[in-house]
């Protein structure tokens, strides 16, 4: 496979994952803001924009954080290169460029999703349509992954696509956690203090993990439990541990196909060992924020090593 094509597939699925995560985050913020007074709601919307590093861009355009401005900025603003609309457009552009490396079914799933989403986001989104928009974006992700799983040859292209998915997902969950780390921290030191249940609910909703968490914890809610769930529980498909375990498998498959391991496999092994030895106590000793920053850096280093190992760029 061409290095450029591998690069395109890897990023195609990163963009898709980011679009989906933006939608989930937006949905959680939307839900949260509905239950807050105006001042807290503004704070919520700011944290939503900040989570994926879009604050600077947003503030060039808007002086205040209102829901309507935020969801339109994140979903469709032409000045936002990371809007859902731009991301889905990039997914389709990459798919076109890698047209002969993906199955017809996968291409059609992407093209149809793009047609639907770009139609929906052609005009500003009103409050009543945010839910629908989020739902359609999530469904697009499901359709694309489904088409890929059901129709694509398990060749290197498949593994590059999956690797992109898990690199991005790990990055997103770490960023979402980091956005709220300060809310989770104090409650650890004050035994017995109750967490703002609305806040933790939002964190869990941002990664669509609220129901899974409740199911596993039978209604018990504490900061430790949430962090443990989102970082260390490898049963949850959006946890840090799950993403890196899945990523490791994809990189191992690529190394097998290429008959050699590269820098990415070495970094991956280090990260996996670190996570396997990790306890929730370690995380809070390091400090959640520092831990997350370190993880994000390590995750990025793995992505860069994949690009190097497989000659993404000349």
């Amino acid at each position: 496979m061409l290095g450029r094509t591998a690069h395109g597939l890897f990023w195609m699925f990163r963009y898709l994952e980011r679009a989906e995560n933006t939608a989930r985050l937006l949905e959680a913020g939307f839900h949260m803001a509905l239950t807050r007074d105006v001042a807290t709601a503004e704070e919520e919307w700011r944290s939503v924009v900040e989570a994926f590093g879009q604050r600077a861009g947003y503030e060039i355009k808007h002086g205040t954080y209102t829901g309507h401005q935020v969801w339109n900025y994140l979903l469709r603003d032409p000045d936002n290169a990371m809007s859902v609309l731009a991301l889905i457009g990039a997914v389709r552009t990459n798919a076109r460029a890698a047209r002969n490396a993906i199955s017809g079914e996968l291409w059609e799933a992407i093209n149809e999703s793009w047609m639907e989403i770009s139609g929906l986001l052609a005009r500003p989104v009103a409050q009543g349509s945010v839910g629908e928009a989020v739902q359609i974006i999530r469904r697009a992700g499901t359709a694309v992954h489904g088409a890929m799983n059901g129709s694509m040859l398990r060749n290197e292209g498949f593994h590059f696509a999956r690797a992109g998915t898990f690199v991005e997902r790990a990055d997103c969950v770490a960023r979402i956690l980091d956005m709220k780390y300060y809310l989770l921290l104090p409650s650890l030191s004050y035994v017995g203090s109750s967490l703002d249940t609305g806040q933790w609910d939002q964190v869990l909703r941002s990664v669509s993990g609220d129901r899974a968490f409740r199911w596993l914890n039978a209604g018990q809610i504490d900061a430790r439990g949430i962090v443990e769930f989102l970082v260390l529980d490898d049963r949850f498909p959006r946890s840090v541990a799950f993403c890196h375990s899945a990523l490791r498998e994809e990189l191992a498959a690529l190394a097998r196909l290429h008959g050699a391991e590269g820098e990415s496999n070495a970094l991956m092994r280090e990260s996996a060992t670190r996570i396997a030895d990790l306890t929730i106590e370690n995380i809070f000793e390091t400090g959640l924020h520092d831990f997350l920053l370190e993880f994000i850096t390590c995750n990025r280093a793995i992505a860069d090593a994949i690009a190097d190992d497989y000659r993404f760029l000349s």
């Binding site: 290095g3 059609e108 000349s314």
Partner: protein, 475 residues
């Protein structure tokens, strides 16, 4: 009602009888409910959008993807008509390949006084560094598209030769796919020859032209200018169907005397490059130094036998419309036979008599630029305003050698589906021809382009023309 306008109609004779080729189809059509047909008509467009069969058009701001209108009534050719056509096409393509070889070697045809040397000197597609070089297998024109028009039962003419990079074959294939998906029962009733193995035949034909440096099974790759090119869909489609890599200039480099592509395993040599990039952009070291679409040094590798470039650089000389006017002489010179497929009568404005005739009869003629293509820069006399005629007259007088003129042909009409039922529209036909040392291979079918507007004679997709499926019937 289906009213033919006095020209030859593919479906009906002058007295309204349905021709044998269309008998079974027409029978089927008359049994269909009109609401069902209208629904299918809409579905076809949705299917093309969904599968992304589009071409790019450049507007002021951003590239826009458009659909080429698809008409669901097939253009049908009998087995006998096809046999006669293929004989003529084979003869012509053989002659073109031999002609290009001669031009870059001894130029016997010029020495024989049959072709003015000036036509080579003035030819923008002429490549000096092809002189004396023979490509692998002596093949220049690996893929050719011959544009045919029809004016009567036995009157087929060649309107244009596309020996450079003919496009449109993906539409031939997709139109058939779409028809089979929409009207499966038609294909059980009408014996239509298949076109779907074209990509396999293309891959085989290209592999048969592999250069001396090839080790083992030849590696074929398709070179595209990229996703913004108007024909990108076709490039990706053909690569996909052939199981070949789709490469861009940035994927390639010259290494160890070969042209190699950057794969996830390192650089791997390419044996045959089916390039859909113009000569000018192929090698910045040899041609346009600003090109980022090509491969620096590929021409040196080519001349040393390290790669086959299809079609060969410099092949475009044969597409020139001034050369076209000599095609009857060219065919006879290289094959020793009279041409089986005639040219459309052509006046060369470079000749004094020709120019005088063209100026006197401008409002009845079609005037084309000798280097032009795609329907750009041409004048359709009968459809032009007084002002347009006057402007063109000035252009002709200023640079007569840039133009040729042809009579406004009574192109045959073929039915298309409209809201009011079937209506006749003008069509042409582009069969695709594969050339290799193993022989000439013509897929039974081609691209039928149709002018969607009533009375229009311009079928080019860039000018609003559409396409339809082309059926060649079995015996």
């Amino acid at each position: 009602m289906y009213e033919a306008d006095g020209r030859f109609d593919e479906m009906r004779t002058g007295d309204g009888t349905v021709r044998p080729a269309y008998k079974e189809y027409r029978h089927w059509f008359d049994q269909q409910d009109s609401a069902f047909l209208s629904r299918k008509h809409r579905e076809a467009e949705i299917a093309f959008r969904r599968t992304g069969i589009t071409f790019n058009v450049y507007g002021e701001h951003e590239a826009e993807e458009r659909l080429i209108p698809f008409d669901m009534v097939p253009r049908i050719i009998t087995a006998d008509e096809w046999r006669r056509l293929t004989r003529g096409i084979e003869q012509r393509v053989c002659a073109i390949n031999a002609f290009i070889h001669d031009l870059y070697h001894r130029q016997e045809i010029v020495r024989a006084g049959l072709l003015p040397e000036r036509l080579l000197r003035d030819n923008s597609a002429w490549l000096q560094n092809m002189v004396g070089f023979t490509p692998p297998g002596e093949i220049y024109t690996h893929v050719v598209g011959i544009d045919l028009v029809r004016t009567g039962p036995d009157e087929f003419f060649v309107l244009e030769d596309n020996a450079r990079t003919p496009s449109g074959v993906s539409y031939m294939l997709q139109n058939r796919e779409t028809m089979m998906a929409m009207f499966p029962e038609l294909f059980t009733r009408v014996p239509v020859r298949t076109v779907s193995d074209y990509p396999r035949r293309l891959a085989k034909s290209l592999a048969a032209c592999a250069p001396a440096a090839t080790e083992g099974k030849p590696t074929v790759a398709v070179l595209t200018p990229g996703i913004h090119n108007s024909a990108y869909f076709e490039h990706a489609f053909l690569a996909d169907q052939m199981g070949a890599e789709l490469v861009e200039g940035s994927d390639l480099r010259v290494t160890g005397g070969r042209v190699a592509m950057r794969t996830t395993r390192g650089y791997e040599p390419i044996d045959v490059l089916y390039r859909r990039v113009d000569d000018d952009f192929l090698d910045p070291l040899t041609f346009n130094p600003d090109s980022v679409l090509g491969v620096p040094g590929i021409m040196d590798v080519y001349r040393a036998g390290g790669i086959t470039i299809a079609n060969a650089p410099g092949t475009g000389v044969a597409d020139d419309k001034a050369i076209y006017s000599f095609m009857p002489e060219i065919v006879e010179f290289y094959t020793g036979e009279k041409p089986l497929l005639p040219n459309v009568q052509t006046w060369r404005c470079a000749d004094r008599d020709g120019l005088a005739y063209v100026l006197d009869n401008l409002d009845e003629l079609v005037v084309k630029e000798v280097h032009g293509s795609g329907g750009y820069g041409m004048l359709v006399g009968p459809a032009a305003s007084k002002r347009e005629l006057a402007a063109f007259r000035r252009k002709l007088k200023a640079k007569p050698q840039n133009y040729i003129a042809q009579p406004t042909l009574s192109l045959s009409t073929c039915p298309i589906f409209t809201r009011r039922g079937l209506a006749p529209r003008h069509v042409d036909l582009r069969p695709f021809v594969l050339v290799s040392p193993e022989g000439i291979d013509i897929v039974p079918g081609g691209l039928s382009r149709v002018a969607m507007r009533k009375g229009s004679l311009v079928v080019n997709s860039s000018q609003g023309g559409g396409t339809k499926d082309t059926w060649v019937l079995k015996d």
